[in-house]
């Protein structure tokens, strides 16, 4: 372990959740998340104000050599289970007959952000097929061809996978030119808007709230 510069502030509401996942206490983490929702907050607020900041802090702790990779993975795995517990609140009763494939790009091992995006689409009645981390491009294209697909989402957490994402976009647009592509993730903070502006039919939203406000636009013919 090493002494390092102070970590950035964490939202107060996320601290008990963070403490629980770092301790491997899934039950407490679940209770903290449930209490947050029972107080009247939304799933998206749970993701943006509690789970996402906590997981970013988990990353910071690894960066500062204050936790191991195993602890980081444990905290992430618990968080994914907590998110799955909310499925009853996430899956909208009214389905709209639209299908989205949401994946992390090739080589990209982070996947929670993509899972959150999938859940936002599900809340709007879409069938969101969440493909997880390191999704091979050929498989993604084949899956998009195999059934009617109305949107493909690509997640990038690490900025140096950007050339991979851009190659994936090129291939999808060559083979499936009518399908809009949604891009997002921490790795695009600096360049996501520019990547989207430079390309036809590619869309970037900086956070889940902005995405939530825009999903219905993708549903219109």
């Amino acid at each position: 372990m090493s002494e390092t510069a102070p970590l950035p502030d964490l939202p107060a509401v996320a601290q008990p959740y963070l403490d629980a996942v770092l301790a491997g206490d899934r039950l407490t983490a679940s209770r903290v998340a449930s209490a947050f929702l029972v107080s009247g907050r939304s799933i998206i607020e749970l993701y943006q104000e509690m789970i996402q900041p906590a997981l970013y802090r988990v990353g910071d702790l690894w960066e500062h050599n204050l936790i191991s990779v195993a602890v980081e993975h444990m905290a992430t795995a618990i968080s994914e289970r907590i998110m799955n517990e909310r499925y009853g609140d996430i899956i909208a009763a009214q389905r709209i007959g639209r299908r989205a494939l949401i994946a992390s790009v090739e080589k990209e091992m982070h996947q929670v952000g993509a899972k959150m995006v999938s859940d936002v689409f599900e809340m709007h009645g879409w069938d969101a097929v969440y493909l997880g981390a390191n999704t091979p491009l050929d498989d993604l294209v084949e899956m998009a061809r195999s059934q009617p697909t109305d949107l493909i989402g690509l997640s990038l957490s690490v900025c140096f996978h950007l050339p991979i994402m851009e190659r994936m976009i090129d291939r999808i647009q060559q083979d499936l030119p009518r399908i809009p592509i949604l891009i997002g993730g921490q790795g695009l903070k600096a360049v996501g808007a520019r990547v989207a502006e430079e390309r036809r039919n590619v869309f970037y939203y900086a956070d889940l709230t902005k995405l939530d406000l825009s999903v219905d636009a993708f549903s219109r013919d």
């Binding site: 002494e3 390092t4 500062h64 050339p163």
Partner: protein
Amino acid sequence: MKTTELIATAEAIPVPAADIVAEYEAKRESLVARVNEIMLARSDLDALIGADNHAMMTDNHANHARFVTAVLARMDPGQLVDTVLWVFGAYRAHGFRKAYWSAQLDTWAEVLRADLSAEAFADVYPIYNGFIVNQPSFFAPTEDHPPTAH
């Protein structure tokens, strides 16, 4: 040098032509392999990075080359500086000494000079020169709280 000054320095680096980027990317894996070969052969390696960090070092070299490829293809000075600051801080926290960066970057310069075309080396080297000459600035954020190992 402050972060804003580092960004300004990065902004001044010319963006290479597409064929230069393509050459770097095409040779990326062989460049990484050569850098690993040289670094792993160093008798002082454990002193530079810690005895248990060989895998983390080779991961860093692979990630470095992917990062440079991304920077060459789409230069964003702020992202370049933020990422380099993160890398210097994270790896130092995990036991990598400051001297590792000097050794690694000099090795990259040597390998690039040998394996890239003269034209490509001329266009790519300014990025590495930026890394090399600005090392003190990249270490600065962790100087008030240096890792206890060094």
